[in-house]
């Protein structure tokens, strides 16, 4: 298992570095690229957890589809340079407090739990397989699943209506 641990820590370092890079880089395109790298590293985590289905879904959906659209928008707007954005006064304190809450949650999980990294062997082989996910989506979570798709369609139509010329 040492191999797995070593791999985990290397990947974790990359993940954190890429997340920081995304936050700190001045160029929006670079930020997006760091985020994509982050997504891919997270996908490898899933593979380490014996969940290739979730890993590949992560890559297809987040890295493959959503981030391409992000890049698309950044490039179309020519908004590569993220300058000083004058935001509302409440944004900064809100961001700080939310960040503090998040960090305390993470600390709680780390110290309250035992056995930080679950052993890959201890996870059932069925975990995260297409069959399990499919069954869960179409039986227990059918309503939320359908509700989400309706929401997505509504937002899509909204975008089309907004951009459509009156002519």
């Amino acid at each position: 298992m040492t191999l797995n641990y070593a791999l985990f820590f290397i990947l974790a370092a990359i993940a954190i570095a890429s997340a920081l890079g995304m936050l700190l880089s001045k160029n929006a395109v670079y930020s997006a690229l760091f985020l994509i790298l982050n997504f891919n590293v997270v996908a490898i985590f899933y593979v380490l957890l014996n969940a290739p289905f979730i890993a590949l879904t992560q890559i297809t959906v987040y890295a493959g589809a959503i981030m391409v659209l992000f890049l698309f928008v950044i490039m179309l707007l020519g908004a590569e340079q993220t300058g000083r954005i004058s935001s509302a006064r409440w944004v900064k304190p809100a961001a700080y407090s939310l960040g503090i809450i998040l960090i305390s949650e993470i600390l709680y999980i780390i110290f309250a739990q035992t056995g930080v990294i679950p052993d890959a062997a201890s996870i059932a082989a069925e975990f995260g397989s297409p069959v399990t996910v499919g069954k869960a989506l179409f039986s227990r979570y059918l309503l939320p699943f359908e509700a989400t798709s309706v929401l997505l369609i509504a937002s899509m139509i909204g975008a089309i209506v907004l951009t459509k010329r009156k002519s």
């Binding site: 395109v29 994509i36 391409v68 890049l71 490039m75």
Partner: protein
């Protein structure tokens, strides 16, 4: 995991990568020869017998060409983009079975790199990230043609990925597995193209768009955007884009052969498993020939019509295909699938034809 199997992996990976690189080189020659024959020309015949060393000469030329980086380009991404483009093309075939199990030096060797139980998903995932190279190349060149080419390609590939993904579902449903090995095994009695004629067609059209081949070669439409996203590239960096395009052609042909045309299986393969890769290669060449033929024959579709075709025709058709496939499987009457899907396909074609013809001649003054 023994040392032996690690070595086996490494050797197989190297063989696949070198196979693809050689395949790329000779695919360019094949394309030029076939195009020439179709166009009443001779084609390359100077370098070596029948021009067989032409790819070598091309490679030498490209290596020694000057590498130009535009002064106002984003240098890091400009250099990274061709690499990002090539890697997905090289690794996409990692889950593809090239043959059964052969015995070599007393060792049982499976002629495939990995048998992922979600192999099909792996292919879609890799295909979806292969857009980045093109988009980034377009953006980092700081050139309007390249930019438009990059934007076009991202929009195009996202649109056609939907139809592509849906056409995967037919074979998945029929074989009940997402592993390419199982899909090939399930085609032992009959190739899936028989059950999935429309699915195979959708797959093929969508892959033409996915690998930016004519008549969907929008991103690099030379008549409009000079060379599209790789306008500013030269030398080996340009060659990498070129390489990625052709390797992707080989890869999608191999995937098409695996999903719909029985993969490596053909006559005598059971007795002599070594024939598997040969049959697969044969099928790939036939499919590649089809791609080249299309390029020599058809003009380019306009960009907005390409998008309309993808969203308004191909995507609904792929949905219908999935729907009727599922019906056939539930009713356990597989012969219904081709009948129903072909009927729907023809109906759609006739409808589009009628509406188009009406539009064509609507204005007379």
């Amino acid at each position: 995991m023994t040392t032996g199997s690690v070595w086996e992996w490494i050797i197989k990976s190297v063989v696949i990568v070198f196979g693809l690189l050689t395949g790329f080189a000779y695919l360019t020659l094949l394309e030029r020869k076939v195009l020439a024959k179709i166009q009443v020309r001779i084609g390359p015949n100077r370098a070596g017998p029948m021009g067989l060393f032409q790819p070598l000469a091309d490679a030498i030329k490209l290596i020694f060409k000057e590498e130009i980086i535009p002064s106002r380009a984003d240098k890091i991404i400009f250099v990274l983009a061709p690499i990002i483009t090539v890697i997905p093309a090289l690794i996409i075939l990692g889950v593809l079975p090239f043959g059964g199990i052969i015995t070599l030096f007393g060792r049982q060797i499976s002629l495939s790199l990995a048998d992922l139980n979600v192999g099909v998903l792996y292919i879609t995932a890799i295909a979806s990230i292969s857009i980045y190279g093109i988009v980034l190349a377009g953006w980092s060149s700081n050139n309007k043609y390249a930019m438009l080419g990059g934007i076009r390609s991202s929009a195009q590939m996202i649109s056609y990925e939907l139809a592509l993904g849906l056409s995967f579902i037919g074979p998945i449903l029929l074989s009940g597995s997402m592993s390419l090995h199982d899909i090939v095994a399930a085609q032992k009695p009959l190739w899936f193209v028989v059950y999935q004629p429309v699915g195979a067609l959708i797959f093929w059209i969508a892959t033409l768009a996915e690998v930016n081949r004519a008549p969907f070669d929008m991103p690099e439409a030379e008549q409009e955007l000079t060379a599209g996203y790789h306008t500013e590239y030269s030398g080996m960096k340009f060659a990498l884009f070129f390489m990625a395009e052709y390797i992707k052609m080989i890869a999608v042909s191999a995937i098409a052969a695996t999903l719909f045309f029985g993969g490596y299986r053909f006559v005598l393969e059971d007795q002599y498993p070594i024939l598997g890769p040969v049959w697969l290669l044969g099928k790939v060449i036939v499919l590649l020939f089809g791609m080249i033929w299309v390029r020599a024959t058809l003009p380019r579709i306009r960009y907005d019509r390409l998008m309309a075709f993808g969203w308004k025709f191909l995507f609904p058709l792929a949905l219908a295909n999935v729907f009727f496939t599922a019906i056939g499987i539930v009713l356990e009457k597989l012969w219904l699938i081709p009948l129903l899907t072909i009927a729907v396909f023809l109906g759609a074609v006739v409808m589009v034809g009628i509406s188009e013809t009406r539009r064509w001649r609507s204005h007379v003054f």
